[in-house]
Symmetry: C2
């Protein structure tokens, strides 16, 4: 009874038939939308926008008012968790997120503990409840968090990095310290995602933005192992409904088989792999989410539609288990009309594909 009226996203995550291929976009509430920029201006700063449940709810709903998207995603930032762990998050113009107290000293690492999300991240939990109420069972709400390795990159480097030299030095010199950070962060993320689920998130996604900067062996040990630990400890049901999980490792195309074995329901894939090839590699173990190059959205609406159809065609003629998305967050320079063209093309072409192979249509 708590199913949204449009449950195509949840059904696709569980590899059940749907009438069309559902679509949502990573960072769909963002700077490419003038109404987002207006709300952000009103909030004063990005961080104040994240910390206000009312304004976070407002921007979460903005893309849904414009486009026929099949899911909403909580508006927040992955760095709220290390902020709640006491690192002091702030944003600089042009340089992005920074931490006042990067985590490099052994004493600080030993003192790290997982925050109670109902206390230190209450503003996120409240935003989830508020968004869920505002959505009024129209489409499902996705909760999310960063992967422990990705969060540790920011925590140790103190911000974005091009060479990850502090975390790489720790990884190779003091793996015990990095494992300690990752273990505490995995606990923090688990509690955080479970709080989001309790507050109403109907699916959750783990963003491993920087796992792709690791060697094949280090990825298994320092990134995927902790993502797996989180996935294994998530609430799998809420209000009697399954709460599916999605794991997205940017640049993880070489490791799809092992990601598919981590216990998640779906894998997000970036655009460097052909999605048909990704499907052949993971078989029917998981659903796939992706994978249009966000750069396509800089093209004309006609070309956007044509490229979207190529992704759908490549996924194949029995299109269960596919959630359409970009292979990475939408760029702030995207013309809003590109998104309109994309959503329309995905819905239209995926319905047509199902008519060609009617056995995959929804049976109700």
């Amino acid at each position: 009874m708590t199913r949204p009226s449009n449950d195509s996203f949840l059904r696709a995550l569980l590899r059940q038939p749907t009438e069309h291929t559902p679509i949502w976009l990573m960072r769909q509430a963002g700077r490419y939308l003038p109404e987002y920029c207006e709300t952000r201006r009103r909030a004063g700063s990005f961080l104040q926008l994240c910390k206000s449940p009312t304004l976070a709810c407002e921007v979460t709903l903005q893309p849904l008012a414009r486009y026929d998207l099949d899911a909403a995603i909580l508006f927040s930032d992955i760095l709220t968790v290390p902020d709640a762990m006491g690192l002091g998050l702030y944003f600089t113009e042009g340089e992005g997120p920074r931490f006042e107290r990067p985590l490099r000293e052994e004493w600080a690492i030993r003192g790290l503990s997982a925050p109670d999300p109902w206390d230190h991240l209450r503003y996120v939990v409240d935003a989830v409840s508020e968004i869920r109420r505002a959505l009024n069972q129209s489409v499902p709400l996705i909760g999310f968090a960063g992967s422990p390795y990705t969060l540790a990159c920011y925590m140790i480097e103190g911000g974005a990095s091009s060479d990850y030299r502090h975390i790489k030095a720790m990884l190779y010199n003091r793996p015990d310290l990095l494992h300690r950070i990752l273990a505490v962060t995995a606990d923090a993320v688990t509690a955080y995602l479970n709080a989001q689920i309790e507050a109403g998130a109907q699916a959750v996604m783990i963003f491993d933005s920087w796992g792709g900067s690791l060697s094949a062996a280090a990825y298994q040990e320092f990134s995927l192992a902790y993502t797996q630990r989180i996935v294994g400890n998530l609430h799998t049901e809420s209000d009697g409904e399954r709460v599916p999980s999605i794991v997205f490792t940017k640049g993880g195309g070489l490791w799809l088989e092992s990601i598919a074995d981590c216990g998640c329901d779906a894998i997000g894939v970036d655009w460097t792999i052909d999605i048909g090839e990704a499907r052949r590699r993971v078989g029917d173990r998981v659903a796939l989410q992706g994978n249009l190059d966000p750069g396509v959205l800089f093209a004309s609406p006609e070309r956007v539609a044509a490229e979207a159809c190529k992704v759908l065609d490549s996924y194949g003629e029995t299109p269960t288990g596919h959630i359409f998305n970009l292979g990475h967050g939408i760029s702030q320079f995207t013309p809003p009309e590109s998104v309109q063209a994309l959503v329309d093309a995905v819905h239209r072409h995926s319905r047509w594909l199902r008519k060609k192979t009617p056995e995959t249509s929804i049976r109700s």
Copy 2:
């Protein structure tokens, strides 16, 4: 008779037996070396250093004086080619290379032509001759160039980019214009590499630093096709000796099979793929160069040695066709003693591996 006394690098590229696994490092002449910083200061700027054959020769030889490396690589920059095409290269502190005249207008693209390297890039040709003389047949000299797609990224964006939005817009909206840029650039790179070979380069490498930002299909059409065209038109011999070619696509691990079919003798691989798996995938079609994470060099000398041994062990017990390298250029923050530990470990451990399987040792 023109073989260097240490020809292990050239032999490994041609998958012939060697007494040890040869090693050199991408960007081995660079800012991590105090003597390089001193010469660069003397030159006045990075660009003046590139444009002085005498100083370029000086810095090329610096790492060879310190370490027992098995190859030298011309000190230069991939952007000399677009600079010679009239785009006006300059360097800004902190922001890296920029072009005064980014290539975005149709009239400018129509007017583009491949420069004669013996005229507009004479300073590079002269540097190759001077370095070759100075090396005095000790180790081979590698010439290099950027791939057309990578050069086009810089030419169109006007510098480094995080989203490649101008080139992606052109790729999807006006592929004809991008193909024109890539065709002219491929001609320019072919002539440039052939001039380096005529001046004494004994192997050549094509750096495709940004091909990994493309979708699987776009990579084939806009990057690999042009690299293949270059490889097919390179001089394959000089002074009666084969001049092998290496193609390195950063982030190209998913596409190794098609890169192996482009006509090159060796593929450079970054550290995201296990080199043993890469070897199984390409079989005996090409040699492999790589693939230690440059981040390992931030660790202790003991740990550097241990990680180097893991790469050698993963490549396997019949170690023909392997050239040891990093998976990307060495970081300016690398302690010079890490490189010493790396070179020693690679030579020592690879000799030991050959003793275990003596049939792979050099015969004669």
